[in-house]
Point group: C2
Chain length 405, copies 2
Amino acid sequence: AVNAARLWSTLETMAQLGGTPAGGVTRLALSEDDRLARNLLRDWAREEGFSCDVDSMGNMFIRRAGKNPELAPVMTGSHVDSQPLGGRYDGIYGVLAGLEALRTLNDRAIETERDIVLVNWTNEEGARFAPAMLASGVWSGQFSQEYAYSRTDSAGVSVGEALEAIGYQGETPARAFPVHACYELHIEQGPILEDEAIDIGLVHAAMGQRWFTLTLDGFAAHAGTTPMHSRRDALTAFADLALKVEEIGIQHAPDGRATIGMAHITPNSRNVVPSRVVCSVEFRHPQTEALVAMEAALRQAADNLAARGVTANVERIFDYAPIAFDAGCLSRSEQAARELGYSTKRMVSGAGHDTCYISKIAPASMIFIPCVKGISHNEAENIYQSWSEKGANVLLNSVLLAAQE
Amino acid sequence: AVNAARLWSTLETMAQLGGTPAGGVTRLALSEDDRLARNLLRDWAREEGFSCDVDSMGNMFIRRAGKNPELAPVMTGSHVDSQPLGGRYDGIYGVLAGLEALRTLNDRAIETERDIVLVNWTNEEGARFAPAMLASGVWSGQFSQEYAYSRTDSAGVSVGEALEAIGYQGETPARAFPVHACYELHIEQGPILEDEAIDIGLVHAAMGQRWFTLTLDGFAAHAGTTPMHSRRDALTAFADLALKVEEIGIQHAPDGRATIGMAHITPNSRNVVPSRVVCSVEFRHPQTEALVAMEAALRQAADNLAARGVTANVERIFDYAPIAFDAGCLSRSEQAARELGYSTKRMVSGAGHDTCYISKIAPASMIFIPCVKGISHNEAENIYQSWSEKGANVLLNSVLLAAQE
Ligand SMILES: NC(=O)NCCC(=O)O
Ligand SMILES: NC(=O)NCCC(=O)O
């Protein structure tokens, strides 16, 4: 079993980097706070005698050597980056519980057959740079590095520039190597485990996602002199579209999700009828057919804005298929939880995770712990130390089972 | 008659300060480009031998002395500031036509009985700092200077700080002095004069305006794990409200206007259900009763967002009553236009203007010229030189008639 107090203290320390007054974190990918968090993680790893390699996407690979370096390693990892005004456990909990597992193996002087690699994946959130899971996507062959480097934040800074700026553009090419098994431990980010008082979620699948960038073009006009009927108002068109998007989500309830999280208005002045709105739209569903239908409905709604004199360009920037995790990986976690006496539930993830991409090139699965009221992507995100301990124990034992094979 | 070529060339020169690639201007109040435009105006005035006084609100008073300094002067003026991505004639045309009128009087060595004062009013647009007509409002006793100084832009910079930063916080208190008559020349910013092929609009009234800042508070949530029915989405609530605001405008057609020009979303990340939207709402109408009804409908719509789990705070930041201009002032302009052989039309302004506030303390009226397709608050705003000439001639002769009384 892990050292729960030590794990908790690393979580507390890490939460200071990008910490917000309301107790959350804003630690955007490749920001100064991300750099500090990466440095701290690397220092902790080196103190334990682990190597730390950085690849060309800034992914960090911390390796605890096993007896047989020629065998494919076991992998675990998550992400250090956060949402703006995000929570202090999303991502970082999986990374630090992985570190805690490796430290525990050191404490007990346990030698494993295989190496164990702990990864921090760059830009998981997709908040500063869209899409999400960008660097695990490159590593697993879903995106070219060229494409990833060219993605920009809202200030126009590219991923390539940001990697260089914080000194985390490594020499090693971001390309998959053989992996025996991969585990990611994460907070559920939803209410199910807490509601049902279950210790551990055994995640067997993840919803598909489609992300879009829409550009609505109307015509700027004076708010005082332009009658209602002669406006081509990009903002009221946006409002019309936003309610349609919500409707699409409701039509696909209970599994479907439809969200507009971001919008930028031009010129954004009180007495000017807006000329342009650029916004995000994202859909999620466990079935591809539903995502196809949701996208078709979006395109129809966008076309219908022509009746308002507003043109809508719909660009799909992310198509993330629903995935099923590996049964063999899951059964190790199931065994570990059973031996530890923890209650479990098989579940589907509504969130995307780096390990969804890893599952495309290696056997992989995920472990969830509850989080209070299911609140996530919110400064109020919270977990209890006892929950964090159980998750870390299941992770440790899942990884250990795989590493001794 | 004025020197139309000289007027046009000053307009061209001024349009370079804050000029945008698309031929418009972004010359926000108290910005660096505003400073440069003010300096240029002051230099031009001094070259003609006119004094230039700056008051504590940054209002600039350029004075051509008449024979009787003890008589109340005639005033004309408008504003140098613009909208973001605004037009190159809105405001500045009235200032430079006023300068051209004074230069013409110099050219002809015409002595007037009264002084003539040309004013540049600070922050007319209300784009960088709300509300609009802020400094003419202080000058005419509508707002306290303390209130005006405390207004902030979206970066948190206050009017007081911005005035100091560009060196335009003068010593003279911003307080009305007796004015014999005040004229403001402006582009119509609407389509009526061009549609009806009329040279000159004689503006006898201006619509009332009510401006609001709304803060909608929901709860940030993960876009993937949060089912549609358990969201408290500030953005879909905003969309709902925006369509209600549009409906309120349509219900008060053809005179009513209802506009949301500005919105800021928190945290504004693609995969986070937004926690907060702060937006503007503004209504306009020639009748106060209609404005009262529009406001009541807005408050009702805001309260109804509670059904979405979203609270809405409605703050009224601007209450600008409909006004009627002075008949005596209008008749001088009517006479001037008749003698010049120009066609005229009496009309109502949908836009607010500094001279609406001046009309509260002195006899005042306005002169409009057409603008192409009524386009304004848009980089595509345009006028022809022949139009600009006719307006300046009517201004010159209106002012001259008053200044010889
Ligand atoms: N786990 C998580 O919040 N990932 C961000 C990508 C997503 O929104 O699914
Ligand atoms: N003339 C003008 O555009 N003024 C700005 C204030 C308003 O929107 O009415």
